[in-house]
Assembly symmetry: C2
């Protein structure tokens, strides 16, 4: 599709533009060591590349900047993986050297570290609860009318939910319910909870508690109230540092998008297997039309279920971002294995 020389020139332009955010002229390209053509030759090639849609100009006599198609080609064919600095590698490895106990902390820290290292905004979508199993249930009455249900999973996740106690439920019944639940539900994967409750717990409740209706109601409220979100975001304001968002209005619309979980969640939940780069309009979102989103799934046990994503300008340091995500997800999977050995 592209000649050797065109690829080379495209690569130089993208690499250079990523660094400087300035249109690249033919003279500057010719100056590079590994380029042995005159500016005129390069200009001819650049004209061809522009005609083919890989480059564009900001005005008729400006240098060239990569188009989205140009970035796409760069990402698919030209990009060379960057060597991470020792510092970067160290930071990530240290993060995973700490004993991982609570999954949430790992997620939150991951988001912080990656946004720190990349200077882009980082999203981490925690693993869905497919495989995690219930470890323990606790119900703590707070006063006459309300109580808190606490669920602990074998991934160290603690979820708690407050709910109103049904009128006139008896204290003894609450205890019985908790006992029944722990007996029947410990070790059950969270997604089967409801099913197991229907098949095994309901009968017992009817049998052993004096206020069955209320107990069942309690259970519903306590276990199936709306689940807390498991998206961690870090470095939102990094995006302000990028010169493409010197225009405050672009920054505003992007912030609006980032603040609304409804808009973020579906993008992350697409769960495209492995590493996926989505450039500019490929994102199908107005606010992100100048941004690139790199998503990577990570595996947790057997099924892959979590997603981590970096959001930056289309002029993103692709190779560094990819290398970092790569190292991160390898470490992550590795740590999970150790974790599950226990």
């Amino acid at each position: 599709m592209l000649t050797e020389r065109q690829s080379l020139i495209l690569q130089v332009i993208v690499d250079e533009f990523i660094q400087t955010a300035q249109p690249i002229g033919s003279r500057n390209i010719a100056k590079q060591e590994h380029i042995s053509y005159s500016p005129a030759t390069i200009r001819n090639e650049m004209a061809d590349l522009e005609e083919a849609g890989f480059l564009s100009k900001t005005h008729s006599s400006s240098g060239r900047i990569p188009s989205e198609k140009g970035y796409r080609f760069y990402v698919d064919h030209l990009m060379s993986p960057s060597q991470l600095s020792k510092q970067e590698i160290k930071t990530i490895k240290e993060h995973f050297n700490d004993r991982m106990i609570e999954l949430e902390k790992v997620m939150r820290n991951s988001a912080n570290i990656l946004s720190e290292l990349t200077k882009y905004t980082t999203f981490v979508l925690g693993p869905e609860a497919y495989e995690t199993k219930l470890k323990q249930i606790q119900i703590v009455p707070i006063n006459q009318q309300s109580a808190i249900a606490i669920l602990v999973t074998d991934s160290g996740h603690v979820e708690h939910r407050s709910f109103a106690l049904p009128g006139h439920i008896e204290q003894g019944d609450v205890e019985k319910i908790v006992n029944i639940l722990n007996e029947k539900l410990t070790g059950v994967p969270l997604i089967y909870l409801e099913r197991v409750i229907q098949s095994e717990v309901v009968d017992l409740l009817q049998q052993y508690t004096t206020s069955y209706e209320q107990s069942y109601e309690l259970l519903q409220d306590a276990l199936f109230g709306k689940q807390a979100s498991n998206i961690y975001v870090s470095g939102k304001s990094n995006i302000l540092m990028q010169p493409e968002f010197n225009d405050i209005n672009k920054a505003r619309s992007l912030f609006n998008m980032m603040e609304s979980e409804d808009q973020i969640a579906p993008i992350l939940k697409m769960n495209q297997d492995g590493l996926h780069i989505s450039i500019g309009q490929e994102n199908n979102m107005e606010a992100m039309s100048q941004c690139t989103l790199i998503t990577a799934t990570y595996s947790f046990g057997e099924k892959q279920v979590g997603t981590i994503a970096l959001l930056g300008p289309t002029r993103m340091e692709y190779s560094k971002a990819v290398s970092l995500l790569d190292l991160w997800s390898k470490q992550m999977s590795h740590s999970f294995q150790n974790w599950y050995k226990d």
Copy 2:
């Protein structure tokens, strides 16, 4: 200090400037209905006000804008409380009509609602644990080497912390510890926890557990690990909507400040009793030199301990902000009373 007429003019200028963010000229002031002086008179008064430091100009022939001293005088002497709209009152009251169970949720929602209503950034510093008492302690082992400690307080607050299990502690000991803790510590105010443990629990541990050293270590890790922060922030990006932050660099430095809890916390924790307005440089922080921070303490039981704050430009809708905070804190105290009745 200021004549009646000067006060009137200052008030009009501040009110007007808060709405428009544009310097106010003498002609525009004279046009207002309740002003019966000619522009020339007003100009003279404005010159005096400027000399006294209440006003300033953006350039030698511009209209006047309030100085920080001007805002200060306005806030202290001229501001009339604004009538909140029915919608605003309704929103706040509905928020408090919902059964309050978890304090955290109340805090988080409060931050969201106030930032929504004011379009400023809202900080809520949750109440310190002075009065809250321990309701229950639970320790859930996750695997051989780690466990999660869960504390529930009578304010519905759930705190959990993961910690490494000391090597070779016996499962039976963990249960014994939990039993001892619950027996001795239930109802103890959190701030006395450590003291009570020293005086009443340590001995028992020595007596009843076979691995005392480890048990004590466990206890330390579980209960006195670093506490989660209790600052809730909402509407950070609202600040971008203010024209004074069209300059992206100002926005950047403010964002940097807001993202660092180390910088926010001390300001909120000053806990100045009641409502306190701190304008521009009064904040003693470079990044906030163009901002006003309104803080209000709210009472929780006997001692006042929580703080809520609004951060906006110095050109803030003071009267609306104050009225909203006022209504909010009244509702908050009122709800707490009901809460404690139980």
